[in-house]
């Protein structure tokens, strides 16, 4: 993925991590709990999935290590590209949901 533009669609894990980090630096356990709350228990992420995803997201520039100093934890934050990607994916999902509602007659 290019470091300058969002590449969609995102996997559910990546989308939820971006969402959890929006507006706040969080450490790993906090991200897991926030993802669980945001998805109403639908996405339960373990440490292996979380840190594997974070590594890949740091590599493509969506996430960076945060500035919060804590000897026991590493904090993560969204980058500008991460924020743009989250907005673009949210917009894409909204369009899909609109089409789905229209097809199902629930619009």
């Amino acid at each position: 993925m290019s470091k300058s533009e969002p590449r969609l669609p995102l996997t559910p894990a990546v989308f939820h991590i971006l969402l959890a980090l929006f507006g706040e630096e969080r450490h790993g356990y906090d991200i897991m709990q926030q993802v669980r709350a945001d998805s109403e228990d639908a996405v339960k992420m373990g440490p292996g999935t979380l840190y594997g995803s974070l590594d890949r997201m740091i590599e493509v520039g969506l996430v960076a290590k945060g500035n919060t100093r804590d000897p026991r934890r590493i904090y993560y934050r969204l980058t500008a590209l991460g924020q743009a990607t989250l907005r673009a994916e949210t917009e894409r999902l909204s369009r899909v949901a609109r089409v789905a509602r229209r097809q199902l007659g629930t619009a």
């Binding site: 356990y29 373990g46 590594d55």
Partner: protein, 193 residues
């Protein structure tokens, strides 16, 4: 002088720490401490051990597969499996279904053989990327011991029961041996992910 008392680790945490050894060393170097801390936090709030381990089992399986199949060794395993399937399909197409289905039985042994060798190498061995280090470690000697025992069992079975079509156990044994050997060579040639 007495050293400060360390909080006692639960059995689950110790087991999880052991299972973490299945991840690539570079990944562990970055995240081991935090993963253990996260596990301890999850354990503290878990409704039951069963629910905790269900989540952890799924997480380990999914993330380990993702690490493995993204590596050169993983690509090699995919190539081996595809080749095996091609040979199986070609054989089936040209010769029809062989009575006793030996290829299927050998394949059933091949897969767990590869998997067992991969886990054993990850947990006990640190194979260098060169075949010239053969015979140098205790792990290699253990592997050779297992191979020899396996071959002996195979030969004894073959000697007593003949290579008749009705002996799938022997075919599974042979397949497992081949699988272990294939993975052993692959870990030495490509290195562990």
């Amino acid at each position: 002088m007495t050293s400060p008392a360390r909080p006692k680790q639960s059995r689950s945490l110790r087991l999880y720490a052991r299972l973490l050894e299945l991840y690539p060393p570079s990944f562990l170097q970055r995240h081991r401490a935090e993963m253990l801390q996260n596990f301890a936090d999850l354990e503290e709030v878990a409704e039951s051990k069963a629910k905790l381990w269900l989540l952890m089992g799924k997480d380990l399986a999914m993330s380990l597969m993702s690490h493995f199949f993204g590596s050169r060794l993983g690509h090699y395993v995919i190539a081996v499996l595809v080749t095996w399937m091609l040979i199986f399909a070609i054989g089936y197409f040209f010769y029809g279904p062989t009575p006793g289905r030996p290829a299927l039985h050998a394949f059933a042994g091949f897969l767990p053989g590869m998997l067992a060798m991969y886990f054993a190498t990850r947990l006990y061995g640190t194979p260098p990327n060169s075949i010239s280090h053969f015979f140098r470690s205790r792990f290699d000697i253990s592997v050779i011991g297992v191979f020899v025992a396996w071959i002996l069992l195979f030969v004894i079975g073959y000697y007593f029961y003949d290579p008749t079509r009705g002996h799938p156990a022997l075919q599974v044994f042979g397949g497992a041996l081949l699988g272990m050997l294939a993975m052993y060579i692959a870990t030495h040639v490509y290195g562990m992910p």
